[in-house]
Amino acid sequence: MINLSYRFEQDSASLQIAGMPDVSNGDSEDTIGILSSWTLKIIGSPLLEGEKEHLDNLMEVILQYSRSYVSGIKQTFISNKKFVIISPFGISHKLLLNSTQQGVKPLEIILDDSELSDLTRCLDLLRYDPRFNIRWDFNQEKPFSKKYVLNSVSNPKNNSNFFYALIIFIITSALFIFIPTNNKFEIRETTNNSNLLLEKSD
């Protein structure tokens, strides 16, 4: 049995994948078709390890979060089986990992932007690597709908602009109401005209 192990390194993250070729699927000697284990080292955090299912969950959440960030959307993502949760945390990002083992507390890792980028790159390298013949649960990057982007992007300036516009409109309208109209001029005009008409008729 051939045991293979490949490592993907980015400055602060190192992902090691171990597995073997799936001979029944026609994999070559250096292709991993069956993933047996993986380990992820992020500098300053405990070593993470697990099975394919866990890696799928991690990949799904991290890649969705990165994809959304590029579109200007910063929101929480939870994996299908709720093993992994990532959410914005100030200018950093909070990664919460729930263990499948009983009695193990969830692990919380705070990633800064550079660490998020390193981790995303490691996962990108893995899923685009031709030495792996594994189907990942993550879908290809697709554009979001305009409605989704507009609803998700928080832009407090737009709301405040609308609020200011409304106040200005109300004040201006109130001013116009309180400005007195020159009614006398109109009355004199009408009386003059009526006098002229009376004179003419006489």
Binding site: D113, D118, L125, Q140, E141
Partner: protein, 198 residues
């Protein structure tokens, strides 16, 4: 028992997609329209690249020539015309970018961000000393703001706000976008953010 243990380098396998990635980006962009802020986003990303590297335009044009994108990047003027599709520029040309132009710019931005990643990472990292980080950010924002002042329409409220703000949130966001746009997957990610699904 054979147990090879090899390290994957950054670019070695980036261009060769695995069997399951054969479903390409082309399928993902069927029935999609270009987002309204695409020219602005691309122009600002290039502006950040110019901030990080002096004479970045020359590097971009050389790279474009190397990878066979010379039609849109034959000279500086053509490149400048493309960037003038950004409505926030002083010399806004009221033109739209074509899908082909967007693809070319995305590829170039992705390549440049790969090269400039060590610098981008220094700015984004919070693990280094605060004084050093502040100094780097000060240099970066000063240069970026001077480029914005030089090229953008400062009468626009958006630009005026960018120049007056001190928290640099938008500039940080641009740097993160650049860092997430590296490699083939990163280019696809950036491209997907420039379109809307219709």
């Amino acid at each position: 028992m054979k147990k090879p243990n090899s390290v994957a380098t950054q670019n070695e396998h980036a261009n060769n997609a695995s069997k399951f990635q054969e479903y390409t980006a082309e399928n993902a962009f069927v029935n999609c329209v270009i987002a309204h802020d695409t020219p602005r986003k691309l122009d600002f990303l290039i502006l950040v690249i110019e901030t990080l590297q002096i004479n970045a335009t020359d590097s971009l044009l050389t790279k474009a020539k190397d990878i066979g994108l010379s039609n849109h990047f034959s000279c500086r003027v053509q490149f400048w015309k493309m960037r003038c599709a950004n409505p926030l520029r002083k010399n806004y040309t009221f033109t739209c970018l074509s899908a082909e132009q967007i693809d070319s710019l995305v590829v170039l931005i992705s390549l440049m961000s790969e090269n400039l990643y060590p610098l981008i990472r220094q700015l984004l990292s919070s693990k280094e000393s605060k004084s050093l980080n502040d100094e780097r950010w000060s240099l970066f924002t000063t240069r970026l703001k001077s480029l914005i002042r030089e090229r953008m329409n400062i009468k626009r409220s958006y630009i005026a706000t960018l120049l007056s703000e001190d928290n640099n949130e938008f500039f940080r966001e641009l740097l993160v976008i650049l860092s997430l746009s590296r490699g083939e997957a990163g280019a696809n990610r950036l491209k997907a953010s420039l379109y809307y699904q219709s």
